[in-house]
Amino acid sequence: MDVYLPRTLPEALELKARHPEAMPIAGGTDVMVDINFDRHRPTALIDLTRIPELAVWRREDGHIFLGAGVTYTRIMQELPGLRAWFQAARTVGSPQIRNRATVGGNLGTASPAGDALPVIAAHDGEVIMISARGERSLAWHEFLVGVKRNALHPDELIAGVRWRTVRGPGSFSKIGTRNAMVISMAGLCLLLDEEARAVRVALGSVAPTIVRAAEAEAFAAAEIARAGAWDDPKATLSEGTLAEFGERVTGAAKPIDDIRGTARYRRHACVVLGRRALAWALADRRG
C-alpha cells in the first residue's frame, strides 16, 4: 500500500490523476473501518487532511460553499445559524467522530444513511468536483446515483458542496435506537423557503438514495398559502393537515427491511418525522 501526503490542492490533484485507484482519506471514519477489518485494502491512500482549500467554508454571492474537509464539529461551532446543518452535524456519531468526520466523507461514501445528505438535498445543493482537468458540478441527485455509488470520476476529488442561501426555519431529525452513535433508520430535513413560498423535504435511509418528497412539498406550500400563513406567521395549520402532510411525506419513501429496521417501521417514522418537522417550522415562524 502506498500512502501519499500532499500539502497543496494541485499536488493532490496531480497524485489523483497519476493514481486514480488511490482512495482519498480525510477523517477516516469510513475508510479506516474497512482497512482495520480488512474488508477493503486500497492499493494506495491519499491523505486530504493537510489541504487548506478543502477545509474552508464561505459565503459567496447569495450562496454558501462548504468544503469537503470541514468536520461536523466545525459545522456546529462555525455555522450554528444554519439550524438544519447544526442539528444534522450534532447527530453524527460522537464527539470523537464529529472531530474527524467530514461532509466530503458522507458524499464520497454515498450511503443513504449519511446524515448530511438529506440536508444537502433539501438545500438543492450542488456537489463540486475537482481534478487536474478542471472543475465541474452536479446537482445532488445527479451525484448520488445509488446505494454507496456516486458520479465521481476516478481522477476527481470532492471539493465541497454549494447551495443558494435559504431564508426561513428548518430542521433535521432522525430515528435510531440511541440518541448518539447510531446509523439513522430514517432521517428527514425540512426547510421553509420564505422567498419562494416553498416547503422542501428530503428523506434519508428510506430509499436507495436520498429522496425529495415533492408531492408533500407542494401540498404543504398550498396549505400554508390557503391558511394565509406565508403572510401571517401566527396563522396555523390544523392537526389533520399536519397528519396528512406526514402521510404524503412517507409516500416518497421506498424503504426496505434490513438489520436496523423494517420497511413498515420506516414508513411510520417518515409520517411522524414529517408531521413534527412541519409543526416545528411553523412554530419557529410564530417566534
Binding site: 477516516g28 471514519t29 482495520n36 491512500l45 460522537s94 464527539p95 452513535m181
Partner: protein
C-alpha cells in the same frame, strides 16, 4: 513507512505498515498500551487520544496522518505530582470495574472539562456518548465526572 510524531511532548519515530492505525502504532511500535484496542470502528472510544489537541478515536486515524503532528495519550496525563485529578476522581468514585474503558473515558472526561469546567448532566452524557463501558458502570463514571469537576473548579 517512516512516521515522525510528537507523543506526550517527545518526538518519536516508527516504521509501521502503511495501513496501520495511529492506535496500533502507539501500542505496538511506540510502547504506549494505555489506549485500548476494542472495536476498531470508532464505536467504543477506548482508544481516545488527542490529535493536535482534538479528541479522536486513534483507531480511525491512519498512522501516517499523524506524521509531523502532536499526539497526547492517557500516559501523558499523570505528572511528577501524581495522578491527574480526573484519574483521582475515577479511583475515588469507584468508576473503574474491569478497567478496559477507563483510559478512553479519562481522556474524554479531561477533554470535556477543559472545554466546559461545569457541564450539566445532559452535556456530560452527550460528551461521553462515544465511550462504551461493557460493565455498564455508567453511574459511578458520572459520579467521577462530577467529583473531578468540583476538584478542578477554580476557587
Amino acid at each position: 513507512m517512516r512516521v515522525r510524531v510528537r507523543v506526550n511532548g517527545e518526538w518519536r519515530e516508527a516504521d509501521p505498515w502503511e495501513g496501520t492505525s495511529l492506535l496500533s502504532m502507539l501500542r505496538d511500535e511506540l510502547g504506549l498500551p494505555g489506549s485500548k484496542n476494542a472495536c476498531e470502528q470508532g464505536e467504543c472510544g477506548s482508544c481516545s487520544v488527542w490529535l493536535d489537541g482534538e479528541l479522536v478515536c486513534s483507531c480511525l486515524v491512519l498512522a501516517a496522518q499523524a506524521d509531523d503532528r502532536d499526539v497526547r495519550t492517557v500516559e501523558g496525563l499523570a505528572g511528577d505530582g501524581g495522578l491527574h485529578p480526573v484519574q483521582e476522581a475515577f479511583l475515588e468514585a469507584g468508576a473503574v470495574q474491569c478497567g478496559f474503558c477507563t483510559p478512553g473515558l479519562i481522556v474524554a472526561v479531561t477533554d470535556l472539562l477543559a472545554q466546559d469546567p461545569s457541564p450539566s448532566e445532559a452535556m456530560v452524557r452527550e460528551a461521553l456518548s462515544g465511550n462504551l463501558c461493557r460493565c455498564t458502570g455508567y453511574q459511578k463514571i458520572l459520579d467521577a465526572v462530577r467529583l473531578a469537576a468540583e476538584r478542578m473548579a477554580p476557587r
